[in-house]
Amino acid sequence: MASFIVLVIFLILAITAPWISPMNPYDSHNIDIMNSEIPPMWMEGGSPEFILGTDNMGRDMLSTMFYGLRTSIIIGIGAVSLQAFIGIVLGLSAGYMGGKTDAILMRIADIQFSFPYLMVAIFIGAVFQLLFGVGSYERLAIPLLTLIIGLSNWPMFARTIRASVMGEKNKEYVEAARVIGLPRFTIMFRHVLPNSLTSVMVIFTIQVASAIQSEAALSFLGLGMPVTRPSLGSLIRAGQEYIFSGSWWITIFPGLWLVVFVLVINLLGDWLRDVLNPKLYKG
């Protein structure tokens, strides 16, 4: 339960980032290169103006982390919603209709699944990055990353939903609905789907955590958010170069921030799994 409260706090921080951050790290008027790499305020050379210090561009770490969290959350939730949407539609169709539909959809999922999703993401990411011009990339980065991570990991959902639907569709209440004469889509969406959603709930949280990590990984590889609108991942990437130089806070703070955030989501997922369906997620 504690994890849930922490998660809510994180979400509030992310939503209200523009109002609670000491400064807007995207506004160049606030940034002065001469303020770069100021340590946290409790260290020597720190300044109360920048509680957690500044990064290599002179942005306030605390504000950057709030904004970065926001970006990470938007991408994470957006991507997983996309995954869930594709996964549910395809998984439900495959599971309920069976036969050829099932064979074709699941073969596609299999093929994509046989590739590690991170690699698919890297591949799609590299393609997208190249297909769009310079001016638009910064604006398109968030939707693009959402799309990339969403597209690269939908089979997880499709499979879970399908397995769950396959279990549900042979239950007698579905046959009862058929005996009543309800149309197929009504049965699929009104009877089968609601009963398959528990499994989705559980993997949803876990997938959000993994999507945020994927985004971080992509950003780390330079295929993610541009440096000017950093996510937590690109912050860590940017800061990683400074770890030996003594400016550890540039990477450690966003790193901790990310770890704590993902940890909280994972704990929530564990809790959900224990409550909803202990046998789920065998892989």
Binding site: A103, K171, E172, Y173, E175, A176, A177, R178, V179, I180, G181, L182, P183, R184, H191, P194, N195
Partner: protein
């Protein structure tokens, strides 16, 4: 045979399930040659029977004999591979989804597992309202509420529980709700697929009593699927015995219980444990039950039948009408072989 037209009749129904998977799975190497083989479960093989209006016909058989499949073929849940299903003389097995709808109101089904047959996410009201509203779009919610209350009353579930979810009920109560759903459209014909086998004995009696009571009140016709022969004896007018998807014997309950003809039926009935009787020597069967994937040739029972001869291995016995009005498919009975 009854001169009246039967309410439901099925003629030569065959239902096979293809379980061989994708095209590539069907190929295999046998004797150095590439062959394509389909694996099919032969669930129902050429079964014909009829149900008269107002009677209860039980279909009995051991697990895997195809009785549930037969029920689902009748209800149009599975299309038969061949053969016909007739309702009041009208063919229904080849209808489209929409053409089926009028028959849905007349034919309903009750299921075995009270835990799985109700949608766990719908309240009693939603469960009962859905068929009602679907088939009577013009019905007002007040009318629907009245109807639901009436039916709940009839099956013995207090209508105040209408907003509860299935998990708040016991197994017996659920089965009553399940029956209510079957009745809500005022059907004439009900297929009951093992409605009491998942229940405890004392509850089982309650439900059987309810079903019999309803049959009388509402003039229902039942097709009763079960493996429990004591239940069969109690509830049914006539009994059809299935073995490996084939009809062995069809007779009135009394005849069947006191004078079973088919060797399988005899063995089956001799095996029923009866309370208070010391173990009478039951008829022992030899061998193992074959799978419905690899059906034996000839009479499907020949491998386990002590009276089987070479003809039984070769030739499929036809269903023969007996003097007492029953039917039996057995060369031995036909030939009047001595059977102890």
């Amino acid at each position: 045979m009854n001169t009246e037209q039967p309410l439901v009749s099925i003629n030569n129904v065959v239902k096979h399930f293809d379980i061989s998977g994708g095209l590539l799975d069907q190929f295999s190497f046998k004797g150095g040659k590439l062959r394509r083989e389909k694996t099919t479960v032969k669930a129902v093989n050429d079964v014909s029977l009829f149900v008269n209006k107002g009677e209860t016909l039980s279909v009995v058989g051991e697990s895997g004999c195809g009785k549930s499949t037969l029920a689902r073929v009748i209800m149009g849940l599975y299309p038969p591979n061949s053969g016909q299903v007739l309702y009041e003389g009208q063919r229904i097995d080849n209808l489209s989804h929409n053409q089926w709808l009028p028959f849905r109101k007349k034919m309903q089904m009750i299921f075995q597992d009270p835990y799985a047959s109700l949608n766990p996410r719908k309240t009693v009201r939603q469960t009962l309202e859905e068929p009602l509203r679907f088939h009577n779009p013009s019905m007002t919610s007040a009318e629907a509420a009245d109807k639901i209350a009436e039916v709940m009353e009839q099956v013995g579930v207090d209508p105040v529980w209408i907003t509860r979810y299935p998990h708040e009920f016991s197994g017996g109560q659920r089965q009553r709700i399940s029956i209510a759903r079957g009745l809500i459209l005022d059907p004439q014909f009900i297929v009951a697929d093992e409605p009491v086998s998942a229940l405890d004995v004392s509850i089982q009696a309650q439900i059987l009593n309810l079903l019999m009571e309803l049959a009388q009140k509402r003039d229902l016709t039942y097709l009763f699927i079960t493996h429990d022969l004591s239940v069969v004896n109690h509830i049914s007018d006539r009994v059809a015995v299935l073995y490996l998807g084939t009809l062995c014997e069809l007779a009135s309950t009394h005849d069947l219980f006191y004078e079973p003809r088919h060797p399988y039926t005899r063995a089956l009935f001799s095996a029923i444990p009866k309370v208070g009787e010391k173990r009478a020597k039951h008829i022992k069967l030899k061998g193992e039950v074959p799978t419905p994937v690899h059906l034996p040739t000839g009479c499907v029972f020949h491998g386990r039948c002590v009276y089987a001869n070479e003809r039984c291995v070769r030739e499929v016995p036809a269903l023969v009408k007996l003097s007492n009005g029953g039917f039996v498919a057995c060369h031995g009975v036909e030939e009047n072989r001595p059977m102890a």
